[in-house]
């Protein structure tokens, strides 16, 4: 055991920070600083800048543009990017589809889809959830029926982040209605420009525009867009769930937001009560951060397991608490609508209420915290 990072790791972080300071465009930096909504446009732009330095897909194998870093180094990298004021680079294509293609895709699929994701040129949406199938995803009903060289897809996806600005969507579809729910699902890649795909954006509670409904009406998907084998899609999707065992806790984003809280607290007079609560949050964050580093270093070779669900539960709690404190710091100024805040608004405070509202999503998406707790109770605690 050793308390601090070693010199090599510290140098690495300093190097990443220096690079961000040189390469992060001012307008993006400002958007992140004040917590403005980012869209595909900004994310793709930042991805292209990272790619120019070979850093857009650090977790992928080196042959597809990955960095070959250890999980610890990747963690330090992702954290430093955010701490240095950069936007996150966690598009579904990079974080979800990439690993699945790499594990289960054909060579052709990899060659075709991975490079443009890496370069920030194509954007992917994740079409899993449906109106009737959220927590109980395995009951999904969107159907795909084989017709010659195509699957014909019919159904209705919802909560599909960034579908309105994505070129492609990876979707779970039912190919065998007679099998057990988990066994009749396939993993398909759908071109959003196909006839029969209709996207309806859903305005979010904080004014954000990430979410969409996707209607699929006799959409013809070439059979070469199937990942792996037919009816095995659930297994591929599950591979994803445990893939990033530590990223799911979102500690890097929380650190970024905590740094923002500290900066704002220094710049204005705040109550002792808020200071104490911020200190308490800092301790939660310290503990969370240490737990992540422990997970990464104690037993680096272990496969991610259901313990990751605990990281998600606690990680999202800490995140939401920091966002709550930021909202509290805004005080009565938090009353302004971020999109109609008036001329006299203090730009540092403008987005805090919206950011608080937006932070409510982290305990819902990627499997709600209740579902994560069910997993832990059963698979970790044996209850």
């Amino acid at each position: 055991m050793r308390l601090t990072l070693n010199q090599d790791e510290l140098d690495f972080r300093a190097m990443v920070d220096a690079w961000v300071q040189r390469n992060l465009p001012d307008d993006l930096r400002e958007m992140v600083r004040v917590g403005e909504h980012l869209t595909r446009k900004e994310f793709s732009r930042w991805c292209r800048i990272l790619d120019a330095n070979g850093w857009s897909v650090p977790a992928w194998p080196t042959e597809y543009g990955g960095t070959g870093w250890s999980p610890l180094r990747r963690h330090l990298f992702e954290e430093q990017l955010l701490l240095s004021g950069a936007p996150r680079n966690t598009a579904a294509g990079i974080a979800m589809l990439g690993p699945i293609l790499i594990a289960f895709g054909t060579q052709e699929q990899k060659d075709r889809y991975l490079p443009p994701i890496r370069r920030g040129e194509t954007y992917w949406a994740q079409g899993f959830s449906e109106p009737g199938s959220g927590s109980d995803l395995a009951t999904l009903r969107t159907s795909a029926v084989r017709d010659g060289a195509h699957f014909v897809v019919n159904g209705h996806k919802i909560w599909t982040s960034y579908a309105q600005s994505s070129e492609m969507m990876f979707a779970l579809v039912r190919t065998n209605p007679d099998a057990k729910p988990q066994s009749g699902i396939s993993f398909l890649l759908i071109d959003m420009a196909s006839p029969g795909v209709k996207v309806r954006p859903i305005r979010m509670v904080d004014g954000g525009t990430d979410l969409n409904e996707v209607f699929l009406d006799d959409v013809r998907v070439p059979v070469e867009n199937l990942i792996g084998e037919v009816d095995r899609g659930w297994d591929y999707a599950k591979h994803l769930l445990g893939f990033e065992r530590t990223g799911i806790a979102g500690v890097a984003a929380t650190k970024q937001q905590f740094a923002r809280l500290k900066r704002l607290m220094e710049a204005r007079s705040v109550s002792d009560a808020l200071r104490r609560k911020a200190a308490r949050a800092e301790i939660d964050l310290l503990a969370m951060d240490a737990l992540i580093l422990r997970t990464l270093t104690e037993n680096p070779a272990s496969r991610p397991g259901p313990e990751a669900s605990m990281l998600k539960i606690q990680g999202t709690r800490v995140r939401q608490n920091v966002q709550r404190l930021l909202m509290e710091l805004a005080g009565v100024e938090g009353l302004r609508h971020a999109e109609d805040p008036g001329e006299a608004v203090d730009r540092d405070l403008q987005w805090l209420a919206a950011n608080y509202l937006d932070s409510r999503k982290v305990s819902i998406y990627g499997g709600t915290n209740e579902i994560q707790a069910n997993v832990v109770a059963k698979a970790v605690l044996g209850l």
């Binding site: 859903i202 305005r203 509670v205 609560k277 999109e339 409510r360 999503k361 819902i364 998406y365």
Partner: protein
């Protein structure tokens, strides 16, 4: 303590409930002017004034029912700031002719009022009147008000200012819960001596008392919103099915609902205590109890807002879903009331 309502109070409460359900439920086609007209027709713009001033002589408990209705139906009207707060100010200095004239205009519904607390700048003597320069931030209803009741930065003057007068600039904005508000900039705004209905310690006393009444009413508005948010989330849990059963059948959620219900009941009860105190207790005791209610309400508001969204799942994150609308109303009210800590501080100060 006696929480029983008189037959008259029950009648009034029921008629107010009906009024809000019929008039304000659903946002379509409503604007500030039509809201105000409806409130005036119902006699509510005259509510805080005694009959001798042409009012209906409503007490704080009556106004609490109105505030409950605003929260429950998410009505956008700035009634609490415009009538309860600004109206109480005028009522308490009704001996001054300018205040009395404005009471009539407010009660009849012909004039909309807003209260503006200056945060910076100064009010200087000019002849027998004053000149106002400075800023008042976050004036509720400030974008649509016809007249302002302005408190000087140190609250030793209350000044009636025409919303269309020279030197006054409004910077309108929308609130988190889509209500109208404005920041005001005063540039050498002249006010005659007659436009200053009260000064000095008496002004401070009146302002504090009106703010207390408003805080009690904001607590009541939050209680109305919390109760509605809880009801609609319960309804969702009864109907939304996952894993072949209503999500409300999962014990993990059931127990959380129980906690929510306890929090709402406590808030509502303490708000009633605070509201009675506004009418009956000494200023110090009223301040203490209103602060206590605000602490309870701030904590419960956060719980209800967050749980309502969480239990709605993805739906809860959408703008169409009422859970988020209630959450935003509750957040906005917490901004006005001050956080749990700020209210706790007021409680300590007044103990």
């Amino acid at each position: 303590m006696d929480f029983s309502l008189s037959p008259d109070q029950i009648l009034f409460r029921d008629s107010i409930d009906r009024f809000f359900t019929e008039t304000f439920a659903g946002e379509a086609g409503r604007d500030a002017a039509s809201d105000w007209k409806s409130l005036a027709e119902m006699g509510l713009t005259a509510a805080p004034f005694p009959e001798s001033l042409g009012g209906t002589g409503a007490n704080a408990i009556d106004l609490m029912f109105v505030a409950n209705g605003i929260g429950r139906t998410l009505a956008k009207t700035p009634f609490i700031a415009g009538v309860i707060l600004a109206g109480s100010l005028l009522r308490d200095c009704a001996a001054a002719p300018a205040a009395r004239a404005l009471i009539e205009a407010l009660a009849s519904g012909s004039t909309r009022l807003a209260f503006a607390q200056m945060h910076s700048g100064s009010v200087t003597r000019a002849g027998s009147g004053v000149t106002i320069s400075g800023e008042a931030r976050i004036v509720l209803g400030g974008a649509t008000a016809d007249m302002f009741v302005v408190a000087s930065p140190d609250r030793d003057l209350l000044i009636i200012v025409d919303g269309g007068g020279p030197g006054l600039r409004r910077l309108p904005f929308g609130t988190l819960d889509n209500r109208d508000a404005a920041d005001l900039v005063f540039e050498n705004v002249a006010a005659a001596a007659e436009a200053i209905p009260v000064r000095g310690a008496e002004a401070r006393r009146i302002i504090e008392s009106a703010l207390r009444a408003a805080r009690a009413a904001w607590c009541a508005e939050a209680c109305g919103a919390m109760r509605a948010a809880l009801d609609l989330t319960l309804e969702y849990a009864r109907t939304r099915k996952q894993f072949g059963r209503p999500i409300g059948s999962f014990q993990a959620l059931q127990h959380r609902f129980v906690d929510m219900r306890i929090a709402v009941d406590l808030s509502d009860t303490l708000t009633r205590v605070a509201t009675m105190a506004v009418d009956e207790a000494s200023p110090q005791e009223a301040e203490r109890l209103v602060a206590a209610a605000a602490v309870q309400v701030a904590a419960a508001s956060r719980l209800i807002a967050e749980e309502a969204i969480q239990i709605h799942g993805g739906m809860g994150m959408t703008d169409e879903c009422s859970a988020g609308k209630y959450a935003k109303r509750l957040m906005a009210l917490t901004c006005l009331l001050g956080s749990e800590d700020e209210a706790l501080e007021r409680f300590l100060q007044s103990a």
